[in-house]
Amino acid sequence: MAAPTRDLPSEDYSRYAFKDDIVYATTIPKGLSEETVRSISAIKKEPEWMLNFRLRAYRHFVKRAMPNWGGVLSNIDFNQITYYMSASKKEGKTWDDVPDKVKQTFEKLGIPEAERKFLAGVGTQYDSEVVYHSVRKELTEKGVVFMGTDTALREYPELFKKYFGTVIPPEDNKFAALNSAVWSGGSFVYIPPGVVVDQPLQAYFRINAEQVGQFERTLIIAEEGSRVHYIEGCTAPVYATESLHSAVVEVIAKKGAQVRYTTLQNWSKDVYNLVTKRAHAHAGANVEWLDANTGSRLTMKYPSVYLLGEGAKAEIVSVAFAGNGQHQDAGAKAVHLAKNTTSHITSKSVSKDGGRTTYRGLLKVAKGATGVKSTVRCDALMIDDRSRSDTYPYIEIDEEDAAITHEATVGKISDEMLFYLQSRGLKENEAMNLIVLGFVEMFTKELPMEYALEFNRLIRLEMEGSVG
């Protein structure tokens, strides 16, 4: 067979990699010390307890060894990272308050348009400080709080203190400790009892300046019987040197609450993306993590749900895409601590051009948690022979009646599938794109339309050059 043409559909990808020249209002010099931590807290005029929390975390971070599993972390130089930077001193409530330069960046990302269409609220992290926030009036009237985490600490100190750090303590792991010491920005969401938020709450996160670590901290509290969908999308400019993104996301779903948390990530290929995400699901609550990982040099992320109350449910869907020089070490954890709890874990990974994907998951059923049902499914698709995929499913079951199924497949794109699609006029690369998009469709179909389109464009971008 002759080599088919390799044209890609014409899409404008340039907007995924841009950088603008913002004058940063406040920057703390590179490097990490107790002084750095104190400065961050001082700039933010934080209460004493938060400074103490940060210092406790910092001390643990210093003591704690680097993880010796997952990906290669030895290239991270913690002294070459800027831990705090703000583009604007205060948080804007309306579009007019946002600095022009930042606004232009958002326009490239399509945010104002998105907001006009159906956003219930926008919280956008521009480097380390939240600069723009708006929550529709009706949500405010319902008592919904959606704001930057720093602002929430000032405006809702008691609520904040009651829940902050309760799901993921600083001592959880080295990077949770780092985040806890230097955190800045992120979203704070509070949904009062019985309130249903129909439209997704959205935050757009970006890294802009070179070697800026992003250490945002998100806390979602969904009271009894409430419902919310939080969605974050990430793009980042492409830089040659290393950046670090280490976030902590805590979700508390009270009795009967339903929380969905969707992440679409496209960190630039030099970013270390080391994120701790965990939810507490109380009785009858339903927590869903939808997590897509494209981009980054190394991602280590395992969204987890602790099923604390009877009848709680967890659904964790993760999609990972690893190209040349990338390692996506992703997965999920479901920890069943109560009776009749259910979890479904699905992982889909695609590797190409020597990229590596790893599924790493934990399924735990504690003593006393009877009547547990769980399914784990991991599918890996390898585009070529140079790529790699591994599966590490850890299962600890302490109750005999748990109904557990685990399935794992590793596959390649079949010649028959390619031929079938090509015989309908699709070029080889377009046929491959369709097959890959189909492979992750069970994730895409859960996304709001414009995110689904965006995600499909990202996948096509990642697939570029896969043929030939």
Partner: protein, 254 residues
């Protein structure tokens, strides 16, 4: 020659084994040819080779569309030049919706006749009606969970949407019960038009009760052993394929 699909003294095989040993056949728009023959005679090989399956090798001879050789061309090039293959075993592509797929395929094959989304859906509706399919098919993934009959009709839907000039329908009647066979027969008649030449590849005569071919060819051991009108199919039904093997092959029949 313009307006023809010509297969000229084609020798082809798979994994070093010669299966087609000199096949010649010309199909023009508006014609329906039936290609019959016993199992293993090379019918499916011929179908795949014309469509450009990379597993098969052409050893000698030629395949031409409008006088231009397709040898060495990718399957998508062939599709864009009017060739369509209806698969005996349509392939499932999980997660790819029929509607998306059909639109991408249409755009690839007919860049000269662009249709926007509403226009395309209108176009699609007509074609669905033509092959007797429900619009709910469009919501499903390509061939996934389709019954045997649905898969075959979905092939005919693709043919109708792509409106090729030459369609090879490989065993489109296989594995169907009587009702499904009747539906498929009706769908083929509906898709047939003066602008498409059809090569119906079939083992049994029964499909020909529904679709009347102008020409019938019998492939035996990689060669066309007999060609004739539609009555040849009836003779095969009555006598089987054995007599063709016992007689010396008729040379140069096309």
């Amino acid at each position: 020659m313009t307006g023809t699909l010509e297969i000229v003294d084609l020798h082809a095989g798979v994994e070093g084994k010669e299966i087609l040993k000199g096949v010649s056949l010309t199909v023009r728009p508006g014609e329906i040819h039936a290609l019959m023959g016993p199992n293993g005679s090379g019918k499916s090989t011929l179908s795949y080779v014309v469509a450009g399956h990379p597993k098969y090798q052409v050893l000698s001879g030629d395949i031409r569309v409008d006088g231009q050789s397709v040898l060495g061309k990718a399957p998508d090039w062939r599709a864009q030049h009017g060739i369509f293959l209806g698969f005996q075993y349509p392939v499932e592509v999980p997660g790819v919706g029929m509607a998306t797929f059909l639109r991408s395929a249409y755009q690839s094959v007919h860049p000269e006749k662009p249709l926007d989304v509403p226009q395309f859906h209108k176009y699609l509706k007509e074609k669905l009606r033509l092959v007797g399919m429900d619009a709910s098919f469009l919501q499903r993934s390509i061939n996934e969970g389709f019954s045997g009959g649905e898969k075959k009709r979905a092939e005919l839907l693709q043919m109708a949407v792509l409106s090729p000039r030459f369609a090879i329908l490989d065993e489109t009647d296989s594995g169907l019960d009587i009702d499904a066979l009747r539906q498929v027969g009706a769908a083929i008649n509906a898709a047939a038009s003066p602008t498409v030449g059809i090569l119906l590849v079939t083992h049994y005569q029964r499909l020909l009760n529904y679709v009347k071919p102008h020409h019938v060819h019998v492939l035996v051991d990689g060669k066309i052993a007999e060609s004739g009108g539609s009555d040849l199919a009836l003779k095969l039904e009555e006598k089987g394929y054995g007599w063709l093997r016992e007689e010396p092959p008729t040379p140069g029949v096309v």
